[in-house]
Protein backbone atom coordinates (compact mmCIF):
# COMPACT_ATOMS: atom_id res chain seq x y z
CA UNK A 1 0.00 0.00 0.00
CA UNK A 2 2.88 2.36 -0.62
CA UNK A 3 0.66 4.36 -2.94
CA UNK A 4 -1.32 5.59 0.05
CA UNK A 5 1.80 7.02 1.63
CA UNK A 6 2.77 8.48 -1.73
CA UNK A 7 -0.63 10.05 -1.81
CA UNK A 8 -0.30 11.54 1.61
CA UNK A 9 3.10 13.10 1.10
CA UNK A 10 2.71 16.84 0.86
CA UNK A 11 4.56 17.57 -2.41
CA UNK A 12 2.42 15.10 -4.30
CA UNK A 13 -0.97 16.41 -3.27
CA UNK A 14 -0.79 18.82 -6.17
CA UNK A 15 -0.30 15.84 -8.44
CA UNK A 16 -3.31 14.26 -6.83
CA UNK A 17 -5.53 17.23 -7.59
CA UNK A 18 -3.99 17.44 -11.03
CA UNK A 19 -5.09 13.88 -11.65
CA UNK A 20 -8.53 14.58 -10.27
CA UNK A 21 -8.87 17.49 -12.67
CA UNK A 22 -8.01 15.43 -15.74
CA UNK A 23 -10.19 12.63 -14.40
CA UNK A 24 -13.11 15.02 -14.25
CA UNK A 25 -12.50 16.13 -17.85
CA UNK A 26 -12.39 12.54 -19.14
CA UNK A 27 -15.36 11.71 -16.95
CA UNK A 28 -17.46 14.45 -18.47
CA UNK A 29 -16.88 12.93 -21.89
CA UNK A 30 -18.08 9.57 -20.58
CA UNK A 31 -21.03 11.40 -19.06
CA UNK A 32 -21.98 13.02 -22.35
CA UNK A 33 -21.93 9.73 -24.20
CA UNK A 34 -23.82 8.01 -21.37
CA UNK A 35 -26.39 10.79 -21.58
CA UNK A 36 -26.77 9.90 -25.25
CA UNK A 37 -27.44 6.26 -24.34
CA UNK A 38 -30.13 7.47 -21.97
CA UNK A 39 -31.90 9.47 -24.67
CA UNK A 40 -32.58 6.51 -26.92
CA UNK A 41 -33.23 4.16 -24.03
CA UNK A 42 -35.93 6.50 -22.76
CA UNK A 43 -37.97 6.43 -25.95
CA UNK A 44 -37.39 2.95 -27.30
CA UNK A 45 -35.62 0.84 -24.65
CA UNK A 46 -32.81 0.47 -27.18
CA UNK A 47 -29.23 1.74 -27.16
CA UNK A 48 -27.01 2.85 -29.98
CA UNK A 49 -23.91 0.69 -29.62
CA UNK A 50 -22.40 2.74 -32.43
CA UNK A 51 -22.24 5.83 -30.18
CA UNK A 52 -18.44 5.68 -30.15
CA UNK A 53 -18.42 5.89 -33.93
CA UNK A 54 -20.83 8.83 -33.86
CA UNK A 55 -18.31 10.54 -31.60
CA UNK A 56 -15.41 9.60 -33.86
CA UNK A 57 -17.20 10.80 -37.00
CA UNK A 58 -17.92 14.12 -35.30
CA UNK A 59 -14.25 14.54 -34.41
CA UNK A 60 -12.91 13.43 -37.81
CA UNK A 61 -15.31 15.49 -39.85
CA UNK A 62 -14.68 18.40 -37.51
CA UNK A 63 -10.96 18.09 -38.17
CA UNK A 64 -11.58 18.07 -41.92
CA UNK A 65 -13.84 21.11 -41.78
CA UNK A 66 -11.60 23.04 -39.40
CA UNK A 67 -9.40 24.72 -42.06
CA UNK A 68 -12.46 25.89 -43.98
CA UNK A 69 -14.79 26.98 -41.22
CA UNK A 70 -12.70 27.55 -38.13
CA UNK A 71 -13.65 25.92 -34.82
CA UNK A 72 -16.75 27.89 -33.89
CA UNK A 73 -18.45 27.71 -37.28
CA UNK A 74 -17.56 24.05 -37.56
CA UNK A 75 -19.49 23.25 -34.33
CA UNK A 76 -23.06 23.81 -35.61
CA UNK A 77 -22.24 21.86 -38.79
CA UNK A 78 -21.06 18.95 -36.64
CA UNK A 79 -24.20 19.10 -34.51
CA UNK A 80 -26.39 18.89 -37.60
CA UNK A 81 -24.26 16.14 -39.06
CA UNK A 82 -24.55 14.22 -35.77
CA UNK A 83 -28.33 14.46 -35.89
CA UNK A 84 -28.45 13.20 -39.46
CA UNK A 85 -26.10 10.34 -38.67
CA UNK A 86 -28.20 9.29 -35.67
CA UNK A 87 -31.40 9.42 -37.70
CA UNK A 88 -29.79 7.15 -40.31
CA UNK A 89 -28.78 4.63 -37.65
CA UNK A 90 -32.33 4.57 -36.31
CA UNK A 91 -33.96 4.15 -39.69
CA UNK A 92 -31.55 1.50 -40.97
CA UNK A 93 -30.75 -0.40 -37.81
CA UNK A 94 -33.32 0.12 -35.13
CA UNK A 95 -36.72 0.67 -36.70
CA UNK A 96 -36.71 -2.56 -38.70
CA UNK A 97 -35.88 -4.47 -35.54
CA UNK A 98 -38.61 -2.71 -33.54
CA UNK A 99 -41.17 -3.24 -36.27
CA UNK A 100 -40.46 -6.92 -36.65
CA UNK A 101 -40.62 -7.13 -32.82
CA UNK A 102 -37.12 -8.60 -32.87
CA UNK A 103 -36.04 -8.26 -29.29
CA UNK A 104 -32.30 -8.13 -29.86
CA UNK A 105 -32.00 -7.22 -33.53
CA UNK A 106 -31.10 -3.63 -32.70
CA UNK A 107 -28.01 -4.73 -30.76
CA UNK A 108 -26.45 -6.42 -33.77
CA UNK A 109 -27.65 -3.72 -36.13
CA UNK A 110 -26.19 -0.80 -34.18
CA UNK A 111 -22.92 -2.63 -33.59
CA UNK A 112 -22.71 -3.51 -37.29
CA UNK A 113 -23.41 0.05 -38.37
CA UNK A 114 -20.70 1.23 -35.94
CA UNK A 115 -18.18 -1.10 -37.54
CA UNK A 116 -19.19 0.08 -41.00
CA UNK A 117 -18.73 3.72 -39.97
CA UNK A 118 -15.32 2.89 -38.47
CA UNK A 119 -14.19 1.16 -41.66
CA UNK A 120 -15.41 4.05 -43.73
CA UNK A 121 -13.44 6.45 -41.53
CA UNK A 122 -10.31 4.32 -41.88
CA UNK A 123 -10.65 4.50 -45.65
CA UNK A 124 -11.29 8.22 -45.73
CA UNK A 125 -8.89 9.44 -43.06
CA UNK A 126 -6.41 6.58 -42.75
CA UNK A 127 -5.45 4.53 -39.73
CA UNK A 128 -3.06 6.95 -38.07
CA UNK A 129 -3.98 9.13 -35.15
CA UNK A 130 -4.15 12.80 -36.04
CA UNK A 131 -3.67 15.93 -33.99
CA UNK A 132 -6.75 18.08 -33.48
CA UNK A 133 -5.68 21.69 -32.84
CA UNK A 134 -7.32 23.30 -29.82
CA UNK A 135 -9.30 26.48 -30.42
CA UNK A 136 -8.01 27.72 -27.07
CA UNK A 137 -4.45 28.54 -25.92
CA UNK A 138 -2.35 25.43 -25.35
CA UNK A 139 -0.72 26.80 -22.22
CA UNK A 140 -2.05 25.50 -18.94
CA UNK A 141 -3.89 27.71 -16.50
CA UNK A 142 -2.58 27.56 -12.93
CA UNK A 143 -5.21 27.14 -10.27
CA UNK A 144 -3.22 27.09 -7.05
CA UNK A 145 -0.84 24.22 -7.57
CA UNK A 146 -2.97 22.55 -10.22
CA UNK A 147 -2.39 23.17 -13.89
CA UNK A 148 -5.36 22.73 -16.19
CA UNK A 149 -5.52 22.99 -19.95
CA UNK A 150 -8.12 25.42 -21.30
CA UNK A 151 -9.30 22.61 -23.58
CA UNK A 152 -10.03 20.49 -20.51
CA UNK A 153 -12.13 23.25 -19.03
CA UNK A 154 -13.95 23.50 -22.33
CA UNK A 155 -14.73 19.78 -22.18
CA UNK A 156 -16.39 20.18 -18.79
CA UNK A 157 -18.25 23.37 -19.60
CA UNK A 158 -19.29 22.22 -23.07
CA UNK A 159 -20.55 18.86 -21.82
CA UNK A 160 -22.57 20.47 -19.04
CA UNK A 161 -24.04 23.03 -21.44
CA UNK A 162 -25.06 20.36 -23.92
CA UNK A 163 -26.81 18.28 -21.27
CA UNK A 164 -28.46 21.35 -19.76
CA UNK A 165 -29.72 22.36 -23.19
CA UNK A 166 -31.33 18.99 -23.84
CA UNK A 167 -32.84 18.81 -20.35
CA UNK A 168 -34.27 22.31 -20.67
CA UNK A 169 -35.77 21.39 -24.01
CA UNK A 170 -37.39 18.32 -22.45
CA UNK A 171 -38.82 20.22 -19.51
CA UNK A 172 -39.99 23.40 -21.18
CA UNK A 173 -41.07 22.79 -24.76
CA UNK A 174 -44.15 20.84 -25.77
CA UNK A 175 -41.97 18.63 -28.01
CA UNK A 176 -39.68 17.91 -25.09
CA UNK A 177 -42.71 16.94 -23.03
CA UNK A 178 -43.81 14.70 -25.88
CA UNK A 179 -40.40 13.05 -25.57
CA UNK A 180 -40.91 12.45 -21.84
CA UNK A 181 -44.48 11.25 -22.46
CA UNK A 182 -43.19 8.74 -25.01
CA UNK A 183 -40.69 7.43 -22.51
CA UNK A 184 -43.42 7.15 -19.85
CA UNK A 185 -45.97 5.31 -21.95
CA UNK A 186 -45.50 5.02 -25.69
CA UNK A 187 -49.07 3.87 -26.46
CA UNK A 188 -50.65 6.64 -24.43
CA UNK A 189 -48.33 9.16 -26.10
CA UNK A 190 -49.63 7.99 -29.48
CA UNK A 191 -53.18 8.64 -28.30
CA UNK A 192 -52.18 12.26 -27.63
CA UNK A 193 -51.40 12.66 -31.33
CA UNK A 194 -47.66 12.30 -30.79
CA UNK A 195 -45.90 10.53 -33.66
CA UNK A 196 -43.88 8.23 -31.44
CA UNK A 197 -41.89 6.74 -34.32
CA UNK A 198 -40.63 10.21 -35.10
CA UNK A 199 -39.85 10.79 -31.43
CA UNK A 200 -37.69 7.66 -31.46
CA UNK A 201 -35.89 8.85 -34.60
CA UNK A 202 -35.35 12.24 -32.96
CA UNK A 203 -33.98 10.62 -29.83
CA UNK A 204 -31.38 8.84 -31.95
CA UNK A 205 -30.61 12.11 -33.72
CA UNK A 206 -30.12 13.90 -30.41
CA UNK A 207 -28.10 11.04 -29.01
CA UNK A 208 -25.66 11.06 -31.92
CA UNK A 209 -25.59 14.83 -31.83
CA UNK A 210 -24.36 14.79 -28.23
CA UNK A 211 -21.79 12.14 -29.16
CA UNK A 212 -20.51 14.11 -32.16
CA UNK A 213 -20.28 17.16 -29.96
CA UNK A 214 -18.35 15.16 -27.36
CA UNK A 215 -16.04 14.15 -30.22
CA UNK A 216 -15.00 17.69 -31.09
CA UNK A 217 -14.73 18.52 -27.38
CA UNK A 218 -12.44 15.63 -26.54
CA UNK A 219 -10.40 15.58 -29.75
CA UNK A 220 -8.05 18.41 -28.72
CA UNK A 221 -7.12 16.64 -25.48
CA UNK A 222 -6.72 13.15 -26.93
CA UNK A 223 -5.69 11.80 -30.28
CA UNK A 224 -8.12 11.74 -33.14
CA UNK A 225 -8.51 8.58 -35.19
CA UNK A 226 -10.96 6.01 -36.50
CA UNK A 227 -10.76 3.91 -33.36
CA UNK A 228 -10.95 6.73 -30.82
CA UNK A 229 -14.62 6.14 -30.04
CA UNK A 230 -14.67 2.44 -29.27
CA UNK A 231 -13.12 2.56 -25.80
CA UNK A 232 -14.92 5.79 -24.86
CA UNK A 233 -18.27 4.27 -25.78
CA UNK A 234 -17.56 1.19 -23.71
CA UNK A 235 -16.56 3.27 -20.69
CA UNK A 236 -19.65 5.40 -21.15
CA UNK A 237 -21.74 2.25 -21.16
CA UNK A 238 -20.23 1.37 -17.79
CA UNK A 239 -21.10 4.89 -16.64
CA UNK A 240 -24.69 4.46 -17.78
CA UNK A 241 -24.90 1.32 -15.69
CA UNK A 242 -23.27 2.96 -12.65
CA UNK A 243 -25.36 6.12 -12.83
CA UNK A 244 -28.57 4.58 -14.10
CA UNK A 245 -30.13 4.66 -17.54
CA UNK A 246 -32.64 7.35 -16.71
CA UNK A 247 -30.83 10.09 -14.82
CA UNK A 248 -28.67 12.84 -16.30
CA UNK A 249 -27.28 13.52 -12.85
CA UNK A 250 -26.41 9.84 -12.60
CA UNK A 251 -24.48 10.08 -15.87
CA UNK A 252 -22.49 13.05 -14.60
CA UNK A 253 -21.70 11.57 -11.18
CA UNK A 254 -20.97 8.15 -12.69
CA UNK A 255 -18.77 9.70 -15.39
CA UNK A 256 -16.72 11.75 -12.96
CA UNK A 257 -16.43 8.80 -10.58
CA UNK A 258 -15.12 6.53 -13.31
CA UNK A 259 -12.87 9.18 -14.86
CA UNK A 260 -11.23 10.08 -11.56
CA UNK A 261 -10.83 6.50 -10.37
CA UNK A 262 -9.18 5.65 -13.67
CA UNK A 263 -6.63 8.45 -13.71
CA UNK A 264 -5.77 7.90 -10.07
CA UNK A 265 -5.32 4.17 -10.56
CA UNK A 266 -3.30 4.79 -13.70
CA UNK A 267 -0.89 7.00 -11.80
CA UNK A 268 -0.66 5.48 -8.35
CA UNK A 269 -1.02 1.81 -9.21
CA UNK A 270 -0.24 1.12 -12.83
CA UNK A 271 -1.65 2.12 -16.16
CA UNK A 272 -2.08 -1.58 -16.82
CA UNK A 273 -4.71 -1.73 -14.07
CA UNK A 274 -6.44 1.54 -14.76
CA UNK A 275 -9.64 -0.03 -16.04
CA UNK A 276 -10.00 -2.55 -13.22
CA UNK A 277 -11.50 -0.44 -10.38
CA UNK A 278 -14.12 1.02 -12.70
CA UNK A 279 -15.21 -2.42 -13.83
CA UNK A 280 -15.32 -3.61 -10.23
CA UNK A 281 -17.53 -0.62 -9.50
CA UNK A 282 -19.86 -1.71 -12.31
CA UNK A 283 -20.08 -5.20 -10.82
CA UNK A 284 -20.79 -3.81 -7.36
CA UNK A 285 -23.51 -1.48 -8.61
CA UNK A 286 -25.11 -4.27 -10.62
CA UNK A 287 -25.15 -6.44 -7.51
CA UNK A 288 -26.58 -3.95 -5.03
CA UNK A 289 -28.47 -1.37 -7.13
CA UNK A 290 -29.26 -2.81 -10.55
CA UNK A 291 -31.12 0.38 -11.59
CA UNK A 292 -27.91 2.36 -11.06
CA UNK A 293 -26.93 4.78 -8.30
CA UNK A 294 -29.40 7.39 -9.51
CA UNK A 295 -31.86 5.17 -11.35
CA UNK A 296 -35.36 6.12 -10.36
CA UNK A 297 -38.47 4.10 -10.36
CA UNK A 298 -41.45 6.32 -10.86
CA UNK A 299 -44.09 5.81 -8.24
CA UNK A 300 -47.13 4.19 -9.76
CA UNK A 301 -50.18 3.91 -7.59
CA UNK A 302 -53.46 2.37 -8.65
Amino acid sequence: MDWISTLLQAPTTSIFWQLVASGVAVGMIYATIAFGYQLTFATSKTLNFGQGEALMLGAMLGLTLLPYLGYWLMLPVILIFGMAQGAVVERLGVRPAIETKSEFGWIMATIALGIIFRNMAENIWGRDDLKFPSPLPETAIELGTVRILPAEIMVVVGALLMMAAVETFNRRSIYGKAFVATSNDIDAAGLMGIDTRRVITMSYAMSSMTAAFAGVLVAPVTLTGATMGAVLALKAFAVAIIGGLDSALGAIVGGILLGVIETLTGYYVSTGYKDVPGLILVLIVLAIRPAGLFGRRTIKKV
Partner: protein
Protein backbone atom coordinates in the same frame (compact mmCIF):
# COMPACT_ATOMS: atom_id res chain seq x y z
CA UNK B 1 -70.04 10.93 -36.44
CA UNK B 2 -68.46 7.49 -35.86
CA UNK B 3 -69.57 4.53 -37.89
CA UNK B 4 -68.08 1.08 -37.49
CA UNK B 5 -68.82 -1.47 -40.20
CA UNK B 6 -68.10 -5.18 -40.02
CA UNK B 7 -65.03 -4.66 -37.84
CA UNK B 8 -62.80 -7.66 -37.33
CA UNK B 9 -59.81 -7.43 -35.04
CA UNK B 10 -57.74 -9.53 -32.71
CA UNK B 11 -54.30 -10.36 -31.46
CA UNK B 12 -51.89 -12.27 -33.68
CA UNK B 13 -53.93 -14.92 -35.48
CA UNK B 14 -56.69 -14.92 -32.90
CA UNK B 15 -59.80 -13.06 -33.98
CA UNK B 16 -61.52 -11.40 -31.04
CA UNK B 17 -64.05 -9.20 -32.82
CA UNK B 18 -66.02 -11.11 -35.44
CA UNK B 19 -67.55 -8.31 -37.49
CA UNK B 20 -69.02 -5.51 -35.38
CA UNK B 21 -71.23 -2.80 -36.77
CA UNK B 22 -72.52 0.14 -34.78
CA UNK B 23 -72.58 3.87 -34.88
CA UNK B 24 -72.34 6.88 -32.61
CA UNK B 25 -74.37 9.87 -33.80
CA UNK B 26 -73.06 13.36 -33.22
CA UNK B 27 -73.82 14.76 -29.78
CA UNK B 28 -75.02 11.42 -28.42
CA UNK B 29 -73.75 9.11 -25.74
CA UNK B 30 -73.56 5.51 -26.86
CA UNK B 31 -72.53 2.75 -24.52
CA UNK B 32 -70.97 -0.59 -25.25
CA UNK B 33 -71.54 -3.05 -22.44
CA UNK B 34 -70.69 -6.68 -22.00
CA UNK B 35 -69.01 -9.03 -19.60
CA UNK B 36 -65.31 -9.29 -18.99
CA UNK B 37 -63.46 -10.51 -22.09
CA UNK B 38 -66.32 -9.71 -24.48
CA UNK B 39 -64.03 -7.49 -26.58
CA UNK B 40 -64.97 -3.97 -25.44
CA UNK B 41 -61.41 -2.77 -24.95
CA UNK B 42 -60.34 -4.42 -28.19
CA UNK B 43 -63.08 -2.50 -29.99
CA UNK B 44 -61.89 0.86 -28.66
CA UNK B 45 -58.26 0.00 -29.37
CA UNK B 46 -59.09 -0.89 -32.96
CA UNK B 47 -60.99 2.37 -33.42
CA UNK B 48 -58.27 4.61 -32.00
CA UNK B 49 -55.48 2.87 -33.91
CA UNK B 50 -53.74 1.27 -30.93
CA UNK B 51 -54.51 -2.01 -32.64
CA UNK B 52 -54.62 -2.57 -36.38
CA UNK B 53 -57.99 -4.05 -37.40
CA UNK B 54 -57.98 -7.15 -39.58
CA UNK B 55 -60.81 -5.85 -41.73
CA UNK B 56 -63.80 -3.59 -41.78
CA UNK B 57 -64.38 0.13 -42.01
CA UNK B 58 -64.25 2.79 -39.33
CA UNK B 59 -65.72 6.05 -40.55
CA UNK B 60 -64.93 9.18 -38.59
CA UNK B 61 -67.00 11.82 -40.31
CA UNK B 62 -66.54 10.84 -43.96
CA UNK B 63 -63.04 9.42 -43.70
CA UNK B 64 -62.17 5.76 -43.18
CA UNK B 65 -59.63 5.71 -40.35
CA UNK B 66 -59.30 1.92 -40.13
CA UNK B 67 -55.62 1.00 -39.94
CA UNK B 68 -54.32 4.51 -39.32
CA UNK B 69 -51.76 4.78 -36.52
CA UNK B 70 -53.13 6.22 -33.29
CA UNK B 71 -51.44 9.62 -33.59
CA UNK B 72 -53.16 10.20 -36.91
CA UNK B 73 -56.52 9.19 -35.53
CA UNK B 74 -55.98 11.62 -32.64
CA UNK B 75 -55.16 14.36 -35.11
CA UNK B 76 -58.54 13.82 -36.73
CA UNK B 77 -60.27 14.64 -33.49
CA UNK B 78 -60.78 11.34 -31.71
CA UNK B 79 -59.74 11.14 -28.06
CA UNK B 80 -59.41 7.83 -26.25
CA UNK B 81 -59.17 7.56 -22.49
CA UNK B 82 -57.79 4.02 -22.38
CA UNK B 83 -58.37 1.15 -20.00
CA UNK B 84 -56.14 1.48 -16.96
CA UNK B 85 -56.00 5.28 -17.39
CA UNK B 86 -52.42 5.33 -18.68
CA UNK B 87 -51.54 8.79 -17.41
CA UNK B 88 -47.88 9.90 -17.69
CA UNK B 89 -46.61 9.12 -14.19
CA UNK B 90 -43.39 11.15 -14.18
CA UNK B 91 -45.01 14.33 -15.51
CA UNK B 92 -46.99 16.82 -13.48
CA UNK B 93 -50.78 16.91 -13.55
CA UNK B 94 -50.60 20.12 -15.53
CA UNK B 95 -48.19 18.67 -18.10
CA UNK B 96 -50.45 15.64 -18.51
CA UNK B 97 -53.30 17.99 -19.37
CA UNK B 98 -51.06 20.02 -21.64
CA UNK B 99 -50.10 16.89 -23.58
CA UNK B 100 -53.79 16.26 -24.04
CA UNK B 101 -53.75 19.49 -26.02
CA UNK B 102 -50.65 18.42 -28.00
CA UNK B 103 -52.53 18.40 -31.31
CA UNK B 104 -53.69 21.97 -30.66
CA UNK B 105 -50.42 23.34 -29.33
CA UNK B 106 -48.52 22.00 -32.32
CA UNK B 107 -50.90 23.45 -34.85
CA UNK B 108 -52.33 20.16 -36.12
CA UNK B 109 -55.79 21.08 -34.89
CA UNK B 110 -57.30 24.47 -34.30
CA UNK B 111 -55.65 25.97 -31.26
CA UNK B 112 -58.48 27.89 -29.64
CA UNK B 113 -57.98 29.01 -26.06
CA UNK B 114 -55.90 26.29 -24.39
CA UNK B 115 -55.52 28.28 -21.18
CA UNK B 116 -59.30 28.62 -20.86
CA UNK B 117 -59.60 24.86 -21.24
CA UNK B 118 -57.18 24.34 -18.36
CA UNK B 119 -59.58 26.38 -16.26
CA UNK B 120 -62.50 24.37 -17.58
CA UNK B 121 -60.79 21.11 -16.54
CA UNK B 122 -59.94 22.50 -13.11
CA UNK B 123 -63.55 23.56 -12.78
CA UNK B 124 -64.73 20.08 -13.78
CA UNK B 125 -62.16 18.41 -11.52
CA UNK B 126 -61.24 20.73 -8.62
CA UNK B 127 -59.01 18.00 -7.13
CA UNK B 128 -56.72 18.30 -10.12
CA UNK B 129 -56.31 22.01 -9.58
CA UNK B 130 -55.09 21.40 -6.04
CA UNK B 131 -52.59 18.91 -7.38
CA UNK B 132 -51.63 20.60 -10.60
CA UNK B 133 -47.88 20.65 -9.82
CA UNK B 134 -47.80 17.14 -8.40
CA UNK B 135 -46.30 14.15 -10.23
CA UNK B 136 -49.24 12.33 -11.79
CA UNK B 137 -47.92 8.95 -10.63
CA UNK B 138 -48.54 9.96 -7.03
CA UNK B 139 -52.27 10.61 -7.53
CA UNK B 140 -54.90 8.28 -6.10
CA UNK B 141 -56.82 6.02 -8.46
CA UNK B 142 -59.83 8.34 -8.56
CA UNK B 143 -57.67 11.36 -9.26
CA UNK B 144 -55.84 9.50 -12.00
CA UNK B 145 -59.19 8.73 -13.62
CA UNK B 146 -60.13 12.41 -13.53
CA UNK B 147 -56.77 13.23 -15.07
CA UNK B 148 -57.21 10.66 -17.82
CA UNK B 149 -60.61 12.12 -18.70
CA UNK B 150 -59.37 15.69 -18.46
CA UNK B 151 -56.37 14.90 -20.62
CA UNK B 152 -58.61 13.39 -23.29
CA UNK B 153 -60.93 16.41 -23.21
CA UNK B 154 -58.03 18.86 -23.57
CA UNK B 155 -57.80 17.96 -27.26
CA UNK B 156 -61.36 19.32 -27.72
CA UNK B 157 -62.29 16.07 -29.42
CA UNK B 158 -65.05 15.50 -31.92
CA UNK B 159 -65.66 12.22 -30.13
CA UNK B 160 -64.47 10.84 -26.81
CA UNK B 161 -63.94 7.13 -26.15
CA UNK B 162 -64.02 6.15 -22.48
CA UNK B 163 -62.86 2.66 -21.46
CA UNK B 164 -64.25 1.68 -18.07
CA UNK B 165 -63.72 4.98 -16.30
CA UNK B 166 -65.17 3.46 -13.14
CA UNK B 167 -62.77 0.51 -12.99
CA UNK B 168 -61.24 -0.05 -9.58
CA UNK B 169 -62.91 2.95 -7.97
CA UNK B 170 -64.85 3.08 -4.70
CA UNK B 171 -68.65 3.44 -5.20
CA UNK B 172 -68.62 7.11 -4.18
CA UNK B 173 -65.97 7.86 -6.82
CA UNK B 174 -67.91 5.89 -9.43
CA UNK B 175 -70.81 8.26 -8.78
CA UNK B 176 -68.45 11.18 -9.38
CA UNK B 177 -67.29 9.74 -12.69
CA UNK B 178 -70.85 9.31 -13.88
CA UNK B 179 -71.72 12.83 -12.76
CA UNK B 180 -68.91 14.08 -14.95
CA UNK B 181 -70.15 12.00 -17.88
CA UNK B 182 -73.64 13.46 -17.41
CA UNK B 183 -72.21 16.95 -17.39
CA UNK B 184 -70.25 16.31 -20.59
CA UNK B 185 -73.41 14.98 -22.15
CA UNK B 186 -75.21 18.20 -21.32
CA UNK B 187 -72.41 19.98 -23.17
CA UNK B 188 -73.17 17.72 -26.17
CA UNK B 189 -69.81 15.96 -26.17
CA UNK B 190 -70.12 12.90 -28.42
CA UNK B 191 -69.10 9.85 -26.42
CA UNK B 192 -68.64 6.12 -26.73
CA UNK B 193 -68.63 4.67 -23.22
CA UNK B 194 -67.47 1.17 -22.39
CA UNK B 195 -68.60 -0.13 -19.02
CA UNK B 196 -69.01 -3.20 -16.89
CA UNK B 197 -71.34 -1.26 -14.58
CA UNK B 198 -74.05 -1.82 -17.14
CA UNK B 199 -76.91 -0.37 -15.09
CA UNK B 200 -75.25 2.99 -14.62
CA UNK B 201 -74.08 3.12 -18.21
CA UNK B 202 -77.62 2.42 -19.44
CA UNK B 203 -78.94 5.17 -17.19
CA UNK B 204 -76.81 7.87 -18.81
CA UNK B 205 -76.62 6.60 -22.39
CA UNK B 206 -78.91 7.36 -25.32
CA UNK B 207 -78.24 4.17 -27.15
CA UNK B 208 -76.60 0.90 -26.17
CA UNK B 209 -74.96 -2.13 -27.72
CA UNK B 210 -74.39 -5.34 -25.81
CA UNK B 211 -71.26 -7.21 -26.82
CA UNK B 212 -70.88 -10.93 -26.31
CA UNK B 213 -67.85 -12.90 -27.48
CA UNK B 214 -66.93 -10.33 -30.06
CA UNK B 215 -70.41 -9.98 -31.52
CA UNK B 216 -73.24 -7.51 -30.93
CA UNK B 217 -75.91 -9.46 -29.11
CA UNK B 218 -78.51 -6.76 -28.37
CA UNK B 219 -78.89 -3.16 -29.29
CA UNK B 220 -81.42 -0.44 -28.83
CA UNK B 221 -82.36 2.67 -26.95
CA UNK B 222 -80.63 2.57 -23.58
CA UNK B 223 -83.95 2.86 -21.74
CA UNK B 224 -85.54 -0.08 -23.48
CA UNK B 225 -82.47 -2.28 -22.94
CA UNK B 226 -82.55 -1.28 -19.29
CA UNK B 227 -86.00 -2.87 -19.08
CA UNK B 228 -85.38 -5.80 -21.43
CA UNK B 229 -85.75 -9.02 -19.42
CA UNK B 230 -82.99 -10.85 -21.32
CA UNK B 231 -80.52 -8.04 -20.83
CA UNK B 232 -81.53 -7.61 -17.22
CA UNK B 233 -80.96 -11.21 -16.28
CA UNK B 234 -77.67 -11.51 -18.12
CA UNK B 235 -76.02 -8.14 -17.47
CA UNK B 236 -77.84 -6.28 -14.77
CA UNK B 237 -77.96 -9.06 -12.21
CA UNK B 238 -81.72 -8.70 -11.99
CA UNK B 239 -81.55 -5.08 -10.84
Amino acid sequence: MLKVQDLKAGYGRVEVLHGLSFHVPKGELVTLIGSNGAGKTTTLRAISGMLRPQSGAILLGDADIAGLPSHQVARRGLAHSPEGRRIFPSLSVEDNLRLGAFVRLTGVREKGDVEADFDRMYDLFPRLKERRAQQAGTLSGGEQQMLAMGRALMSRPEILLLDEPSMGLAPRLVEGVFDTIRRLKEEHVTMLLVEQFAAMALDVADHAYVLENGRIRFQGAAKSLRNDPAVRSAYLGGH
